[in-house]
Every structure is written in C-alpha cells, then in structure tokens.
C-alpha cells in the first residue's frame, strides 16, 4: 500500500504505521506497545486499578520492572530508612509477584534507572514502540525506537491491553552538523537546542535528530540527547539506527541471536526516514559553534554558553516572560548581566538517566583523576545501574572518585529528583548532570545549574562553575 517511492515516510511514520492495531472513526488509533518499562513511583495506582477491575496483565513477557526513584543509593546492607519509600518498594515487589512480572529489585545485579537498564539488557531495539510512566522514556529513541512517557492511567491501559490510544505527533527535524570542539559534549548539544527553541518549542512533536554530528556520536551520547527531548516539549526524540546501534546491541542479553539477529538487522535497515520525507518543522545547529552550556534559571530552556552572562529582565518585552525571568533569578539569587562562571557551588551531582552511563563516568573521572574535590564541595557520583557500577569498578573509576573525596554510590535516580534522601539543602547550589533545574527539583529550596559531566567534574575541583577547557 505504501510505496516508498511515491510516499516517502519519516522513521516515526514507519514505526507508527507498523503498530496501529485499529483505527475507528472519531477515535485515536489503538497503538501496540512492544516494550513497557515500569518502576515503583508511577505504577502502584495502575496495579490497584487492575485489582479493582479484576484484570490480568495481558503480556507479562513485554514488561520489565525495576526500582530506581525511591531507592536509596547508600549501601545495600543498610535498611531503607524512609518508611513511606520502603512501603512503596515493598508494594512494587508484591505487584510484580501478584501479576507475574520480572522485577529487578533493589538487590538485583540488573537493578538501575529504568532508562539505563532497558538499553544495557538489549531490551531496547530499533523500530519498537516503548513506553514507561516516566517522561524520560524518550531516551530509548537513541536506538531508533518510538519511545515516550505516559501517565499512570495509561500504565494501567498498557498492562491490561498492551496498547495505548494515541494520535500521531508532528515530525520535527533537528539537524546538527560539524565537529564538536574539545570540551563540548552531547549534553551541550541538547542544552543548546532547548535554549534555542524553549521548553515548549517541541510541544505536539517528535524530534528526529539528524546530521553528521549525530551520526558521529556513540549510542550513549545519542541517549543523552534523546533523553532531554521532553525538556524541549517533545514527548519523544529519536535517531535512526545505523552500525553504531547494531554494534552496541549485538550480543546483549535480550537482543536477537543468530539468524534472528540477521533478520532483525535487515528489517532495521528499512527504518531510516525516506529521502524527501516531510517534516512539519526543522532546526539546524552548527556543532562547531557550540561551547559548553550551563543553565542559570529554573527551567532547562534557561541555558547559556559558559562564557556568557545571565540575561537581564530589562531586555525582555513580554510581561509574563519578564516576570518569569525575574522570578527565576530571585529563586536562584543571581544578578543579571553577571557571568555564571566563577559562581560558588556546594554540591556536584554526576548521575541521572541523562548522564550516568559508563561513558559519562569515564568523562568525569578523566577530569577528576589526580586531583581533589574542593573541600567546600560535596560530590556525589551515582551510576545509572549496577552494571555501570561494576564496569566503573573494574576500570578503577570508583577509586579515582573516592581518592578525590567524592562519594561513589549504588544505582538509582538519586539527586535528580530527590525522592530517596539524596538532596540539596535550602539555598545550596549544585552543578548537576541531570535534566531538570525546576524550583526544588533537587530538594526544597535547592538551586541547580545543569551541565555536562565534564563541566560538573571541573566545577567540583575548583568549587566554582568552571569551564573545563580552562582547567585541562
């Protein structure tokens, strides 16, 4: 029916078309879900609904559960101190046991942040539809999957039917071309994109990241970029699969093996957008012009190049925009027109589904090695999964961090959203490799500067917001 010569399609359209179960007039499409990831925070009320309606999980073989958000990152030998958090973890055990789901619990060797474990186990594969009750599900788009966050009602829908009611999104092409300068990373690309389009800029869209820079990135770097698509307002963001993708996947636990692998790769090669496919919107970024980025405000769109200055509300004309900027600067206690570089900080957090993979830890360690964390800084390094932690230990990265005075933890979401006891104190400043600098996100009254692992590590050494290129 769809002759690609006549009807060029984007990768998003191809994935969509191959997952529509039914489409009744006046209703959204019923879309099949290939992989459902779930964690302790956004699922309990969905399981409760299943019990109330006496429903089973339709496809337990397509769901994977883990514990990450409320999960302590202190030693596993210690009990969970927070009774409410502990009750939530216990409930997750019970829900997965009652409904027959595979759970990587707090003691599992496969436990970790839901968006880290999917890819590392080979569950995340090109062409899939992937959902999770978590807005950073877009991470999995790095493999050429259509992956997006859903609410708890929809978690219930997926558990009961393996489907979702969905209307298609528009395609938004984000092209990044050219060579990155030393010290500039994937995190800086996505922070620059969001600073350019604003945090509502991609509403109603799915980002497709294209261009020579994206092609040259590792799969882990692509995950960092896709992860923050939601911070640009897009529910999903993806990169078409290529040899980088296949090399990463080949041999992983749940990846196809033998002939099934060859067949899968053959099909995956059909996924990239056709020549001439139409995009509703487009943006082009010159990677060579990028600097390390850092946010100054209270949403991820409030970002500047590290050599830049905090913007002045006097230069903003829209009254609400102006008052929002005033509000942000008041919360952050920053002066307009001043550089952020050199601003004193209290905490450095290296972690989160944005930047807690082995390559992120290696990047941070490359700066920390042979140096000491500034005595007034508390540095927390939180691997994204147990597997990442083991790999870091095998490479001696844990020792580099600990020798420098940093804390090297168990896996989890940790200080990205401060649900598990890892948090900022009121008024404290952090440089954080996470994805959100919203008011109170890292702890009530805490103030967040988002940046790359390189910038975070350099800032930990000096105790001030630092341009890594000046340190090295």
């Amino acid at each position: 029916m769809n002759n690609p010569m006549k009807n060029p399609r984007t990768i998003v359209e191809k994935i969509w078309d191959s997952h529509v179960v039914s489409q009744e007039p006046g209703a959204p499409a019923l879309l099949f879900v290939d992989l459902h990831l779930t964690h302790e925070v956004t699922s309990p009320q969905a399981f409760q609904m299943l019990r109330e309606r006496k429903l089973k999980v339709r496809r337990p073989d397509l769901t994977i559960a883990t514990m990450d958000h409320s999960t302590p990152t202190t030693s596993r030998d210690l009990p969970v101190l927070d009774p409410i958090g502990a009750a939530q973890l216990d409930q997750m055990e019970k829900n997965c046991a009652d409904f027959g789901l595979r759970l990587y619990n707090r003691m599992s060797d496969h436990q970790g942040i839901v968006h880290i474990i999917g890819p590392e186990q080979g569950l995340t594969q090109p062409g899939m539809t992937i959902v999770c009750g978590d807005s950073h599900t877009a991470t999995h788009g790095a493999f050429g999957a259509l992956a997006f966050g859903i609410g708890t009602s929809q978690v219930g829908h997926v558990l009961a039917t393996q489907c979702l009611l969905q209307t298609p999104s528009q395609s938004y092409a984000i092209r990044v071309n050219g060579a990155l300068k030393p010290g500039v990373s994937a995190k800086d690309i996505i922070l620059a994109v969001i600073a350019k389009i604003g945090i509502g800029g991609g509403t109603g869209c799915v980002f497709e990241y294209l261009g020579s820079t994206i092609r040259g990135l590792s799969i882990e770097e692509r995950m960092t970029i896709c992860n923050m698509s939601i911070e640009g307002g897009a529910r999903a963001g993806l990169v078409a699969p290529d040899d980088t993708t296949y090399q990463y996947l080949n041999g992983r636990e749940f990846a196809p093996k033998g002939e099934a692998w060859d067949e899968a790769v053959k099909q995956w090669k059909q996924l990239p957008s056709d020549e001439g496919a139409a995009y509703a919107r487009e943006l082009t970024i010159d990677a060579g012009e990028l600097e390390p980025m850092v946010t100054f405000g209270t949403n991820p769109g409030m970002g500047i190049p590290i050599s830049g200055a905090v913007p002045d509300p006097a230069s903003v004309s829209d009254p609400i925009e102006k008052s929002d900027l005033v509000k942000a600067l008041k919360y952050m206690d920053l002066e307009p027109g001043k550089p952020l570089q050199g601003h004193r900080i209290d905490v450095v957090f290296v972690g989160s589904c944005t930047n807690s993979r082995i390559s992120d830890l290696r990047a941070a360690a490359s700066v920390i090695k042979g140096r000491k964390v500034n005595p007034h800084v508390r540095m927390l390094v939180v691997p994204g999964s147990q597997q990442v932690k083991h790999q870091a230990e095998a490479e001696g990265l844990d020792k580099i961090f600990r020798d420098a005075g940093a804390d090297f933890r168990e896996a989890g979401c940790s200080m990205c959203l401060a649900m598990n006891g890892d948090q900022l104190e009121p008024g404290e400043y952090s440089v954080s490799t996470s994805n959100r600098n919203f008011e109170g996100r890292q702890g009530k009254g805490g103030r967040t500067f988002l940046a790359s692992p390189l910038t975070a590590a350099a800032s930990a050494i000096t105790g001030f917001v630092t341009d890594v290129r000046k340190l090295v």
């Binding site: 039914s22 006046g26 859903i150 099934a260 609400i320 959203l417 009530k444």
Partner: protein, 197 residues
C-alpha cells in the same frame, strides 16, 4: 465522572511554564494510592517553611476560595509525566485549567481525570489574566468559554477526549472491547523480546 457545564470564578496564576514539580513536588510521589494529594498542590508556593499559608499566593486569598477554574501562563504542566499533578488539582477542587498551551503528557493525563484543559487565544488569555475572580462559563458540549462581559470564544478539544468527558466513557473499557483486533495484531506481530525468558 461526567463533565457538565461549569460556571465558576477564576483564580489567576500568571506564570509561564509551570512544571509538574511545582504542581506537586516529588516527595508526594511516594504514595501508593491517590489519597491526600490535594494537600501537596503547589505546596512550596502555597506554604511557608513552617507550614503556614503564604497570604500573597493567589490560591490562598479568601476571595478565591471555591474557584474551580485555574488560569495560568503558557505551557502549563511541562516536565514530569506524573499523573499526580491532575490528581492533586482535582482533589484541591479544580475542574478546568485555562492557558495558551499545555504540555502534551499533562493534557492527556488531565482529561482522563475529568480536568478540562482549555486553550484560548492570546488576547482572551490577556483579558483573563487581568481579571482575577471573574466569573466565566465553560460549555464543553459547545466547546465554548464565555467571559463575564459576554465575550465568548470557542476552544479546541480532541473529539474522543470530549466524548469521554461528556459521556463519562471509560477509555479502558473501550480498549478492552477491541480485544479481537489486538489478538489478531499480535498474531502477525511476533515480538523480539521475552522478559520472562
């Protein structure tokens, strides 16, 4: 829960990009039920550190008590996918939010909980922002918002969401009815993974 015609005064929160961490902070997400989330609504904006109410926050002003419609700045509900955000808004007493735009996930979550997201053009929005306490009427069947001065404006809503809210259609019930289609799809769509293997 059916959405009948709604007449209420508005409470105005003139801030753009209100994220779901402000609507309900993560520390309220440890709950395993939906109970008590209204307490956490805008809690760090609504309350002082000692738990007393901030008198200058719009929701705390006595004249705004009982308002069922919240008017906010652009891109309301951005950030986290937590459905706790609409749960908290509904438990606090809101039945509709008016803005120039909503974040995608929040909008989807809202309609599933009987909370109507109403998108209005910039000039109407400007008038609403400047008129806290104004009484307005929302007629979902006609997709019409009417201001106190009689000015009325049509608002967009997805036709299926409208039907669900007006008639109290149960989305999951609708999906379960399509079981034969799902089974037929599964038969020709073999999966590459088995998490139970």
């Amino acid at each position: 829960m059916k959405f009948e015609k709604l007449e209420s005064k508005i409470v105005v929160l003139p801030v753009d990009n209100i994220d779901t961490d402000q609507i309900i902070p993560a520390r309220y997400l440890k709950a395993i039920s939906k109970d008590g989330l209204g307490e956490g609504l805008f809690v760090d904006w609504r309350k002082n550190a000692d738990g007393t109410l901030k008198s200058d926050f719009p929701l705390n002003k006595p004249e705004n008590k009982g308002a069922q419609i919240l008017v906010t700045g652009d891109n309301f509900g951005c950030g986290s996918s937590r459905e706790h955000a609409p749960w908290a808004l509904v438990q606090y007493g809101f039945r509709a939010v008016i803005s120039t735009s909503f974040a995608d996930i929040f909008k989807g979550n809202a309609v599933k909980n009987g909370l109507l997201p109403v998108v209005v053009p910039a000039d109407v929005h400007k008038q609403l922002i400047a008129s806290p306490g104004m009484k307005v009427t929302i007629d979902l069947a006609a997709q019409k918002l009417t201001l106190a001065d009689g000015r009325s404006v049509e608002f967009p809503i997805d036709s299926f969401a409208k039907r669900c809210m007006l008639d109290g259609v149960d989305e999951l019930g609708y999906m379960l009815q399509q079981e034969p289609a799902i089974a037929a799809f599964e038969a020709q769509h073999p999966s590459r993974i088995n998490t139970l293997s």
